[in-house]
Structure formats: structure tokens, C-alpha cells
């Protein structure tokens, strides 16, 4: 009989647990529908050499990282040293996608802070960004040998994230 009076308390505790979980989740991290789907194709000019284009099909057979960035994006500047670390590890090629930017601003930023990218593609009007579901730069994708997107991160990369998730994932993918 006494247990009956505990029911509201138990229900309340369950509610509090749900709310606590909800409060601690970042609503900006929307799960991408592109995971385990082929990376959308594009063929756009490169940042440094406007007369040459970059096409993701040319990366077939390699695990690679696509990092969407822009010189106007503050979080990208914060992320930049981490990308330099990532490039230094030489674990996989890092391709940049310069999103809705101006060439000279982007080049100036790379000249000043170092260039972690094997190359950057220049997406001046953001059309490629739409195909990749970009809504908040920086965003980072890990793409496997077959051109399938295996991982997406929204927001700046951190050293912890590299060590705990991205390096192990790339090693795992490279084995297969």
C-alpha cells in the first residue's frame, strides 16, 4: 500500500532524467543524413589555382578528410591549429572546401596561419555546401576509399576528438 505513494515520485524522477538528458544535448548537432551515403559529386575550381578544378572522384581509393572552412568564420580560426596538427600527422589527405569566401581573404588567412590542406576547393556561392548539408562552418567529413561519407563533425575539431574518434576511425577504414 505504501509503495503506491512512491509512484508519483518515481514518475517525477524519470521526467527529471529525461529533461536533464535533453538539456545537455546540443540542438545544433543535427544528425546528418549523409552518413554512409556517397559523398556528393562536384567539380569546382581550386582556391590557389583557379584554372584547375577539384573533383572528389579523384580521391577514390584513399581515405580522406574534407574540411569546410572560411576566412570569415571565427570558429575556423580557432580550429586551425588542430587542422595543422592533423596535417602534420599525415594520416590522411586533408582537402579544404572554402565556403562562401573571397579568394584573397582565404589566401591571406592561409598565408598567415599556415596551410594544413593538400588543396582547397573554392565554393564561392556555397552551392557545393548545400549538397553536403553544410549549415555551420567549420564542418568536417571523413570519406572512405569508395567515396562514402563515414563521419561528420559540426563545429571546430579538437585534439581530443582527433585522438578519440577520428584517428581510430581512419585507421580502421584504412585497414579494409
Amino acid at each position: 500500500m505504501k509503495a503506491k505513494f512512491l509512484i508519483p515520485l518515481i514518475l517525477f524522477v524519470i521526467l527529471v532524467i529525461f529533461l536533464a538528458i535533453g538539456l545537455n544535448r546540443d540542438p545544433h548537432e543535427v544528425p546528418s543524413p549523409l552518413i554512409n551515403k556517397p559523398a556528393p559529386a562536384f567539380d569546382i575550381p581550386q582556391l590557389a589555382q583557379p584554372n584547375q578544378t577539384f573533383n572528389p572522384a579523384s580521391m577514390k581509393g584513399k581515405v580522406w578528410i574534407l574540411n569546410v572552412w572560411a576566412s570569415w568564420c571565427v570558429a575556423c580560426r580557432e580550429e586551425h591549429p588542430v587542422l595543422v596538427e592533423l596535417a602534420k600527422s599525415q594520416i590522411a589527405p586533408v582537402i579544404g572546401l572554402d565556403y562562401k569566401d573571397r579568394r584573397e581573404d582565404a589566401m591571406a588567412m592561409l598565408a598567415k596561419q599556415g596551410n594544413p590542406y593538400t588543396l582547397s576547393a573554392f565554393d564561392g556561392n556555397g552551392r557545393v555546401g548545400i549538397d553536403y548539408g553544410v549549415y555551420g562552418v567549420p564542418e568536417t567529413y571523413v570519406i572512405d576509399q569508395a567515396g562514402i561519407i563515414r563521419f561528420k563533425h559540426i563545429g571546430p575539431l579538437t585534439i581530443d576528438l582527433l585522438n578519440q574518434k577520428i584517428y581510430p576511425l581512419i585507421r580502421e577504414l584504412q585497414k579494409s
Partner: protein, 159 residues
């Protein structure tokens, strides 16, 4: 002097009104109406509590422009919606589609309602059952009869 001042003021204000970027021209009201209908049902991903139609963020502008292009290409509303969902997920839709992962979302409230109704039903049944089972003994019945009879006689006497 005053005239020159007024003219300069006019010219300056003209310059000011030109300074703001012109909104994309509404060249085709039918397209614009469809654009509004579609984008009102979609969430802007940058400012999540605004619809794509109402948002002034850069991405929302680009996406509206993209939807305009798709409309001009002759795509149906359904094709445009799936274009957006393929890129941004079901999250862009304000009305989540009915599929296994959203079943709980759609049916959950009704399940809770059913549990509530069942609970109320059981509670009422139990209360009724408890009230019915006060059986009177033979003695009690006789006392009740005499009381009732005496009451009736009293009433008769009063008339």
C-alpha cells in the same frame, strides 16, 4: 541656398535608399507563392526556431534561391522536399514523417491517453465494488423496516 541644401539632402537620401542590397526581384508571383508555401514548412538550420521562409540568415537566403531554381526546373513540391531532406535530414521538416523511428512520437501521446483511461476505469470499478459490498445483516434489515414504517405512520398522522 535653401534650395541647394534641399537638393543635396534629396540626393543623399537617394544614395542611402540605394545602399541597401536589393531583395531578389519577384519576377514570377506563382513561383514566389510556391516558394513561400514550401519554405514555411521548413526549419532554418542556423536559427532553429525560425522557418526557412522567415529567416534572414545567409544560408536561408541561399536555400530559398535554390528552391526557386528547383521550382523553375519544374520540380514538384515533393521532389523539392526530398532534395532538402537528403541534405539536411528530417530535421528540416516541421512535420516529421511517419516512419518506424518516429512511431513513438506520433503514437506515444495516444498510448499515454489509453493508459490514463484504463487507469481511471480500474479506479472507478474498484471504488464501486468497494461501495456495493456492505451487506446488511437480518437484524439490521428488521431495524431498517421498523424505522421506515414508523416514519410513514408519522407522516400519515400529520396529514
Amino acid at each position: 541656398m535653401k534650395q541647394i541644401f534641399l537638393i543635396t539632402l534629396c540626393l543623399l537620401s537617394f544614395g542611402l535608399s540605394q545602399a541597401k542590397d536589393a531583395a531578389p526581384l519577384v519576377d514570377d508571383p506563382v513561383t514566389e507563392q510556391r516558394l513561400i508555401n514550401i519554405s514555411e514548412e521548413m526549419r532554418c538550420l542556423v536559427c532553429q526556431n525560425e522557418s526557412l521562409a522567415g529567416s534572414r540568415s545567409d544560408l536561408a537566403n541561399d536555400l530559398r534561391e535554390q528552391i526557386r531554381i528547383l521550382i523553375k526546373e519544374g520540380k514538384t513540391d515533393e521532389q523539392i522536399r526530398s532534395f532538402m531532406v537528403e541534405r539536411y535530414g528530417d530535421f528540416v521538416l516541421y512535420r516529421p514523417p511517419v516512419k518506424p523511428i518516429t512511431w513513438l512520437l506520433w503514437i506515444g501521446p495516444f498510448i499515454i491517453l489509453l493508459i490514463g483511461i484504463a487507469g481511471l476505469f480500474i479506479f472507478l470499478r474498484r471504488r464501486n465494488a468497494a461501495a456495493n459490498y456492505i451487506a446488511l445483516s437480518e437484524e439490521d434489515n428488521q431495524r431498517l423496516d421498523t424505522l421506515l414504517n414508523s416514519n410513514r405512520q408519522e407522516k400519515k398522522g400529520m396529514q
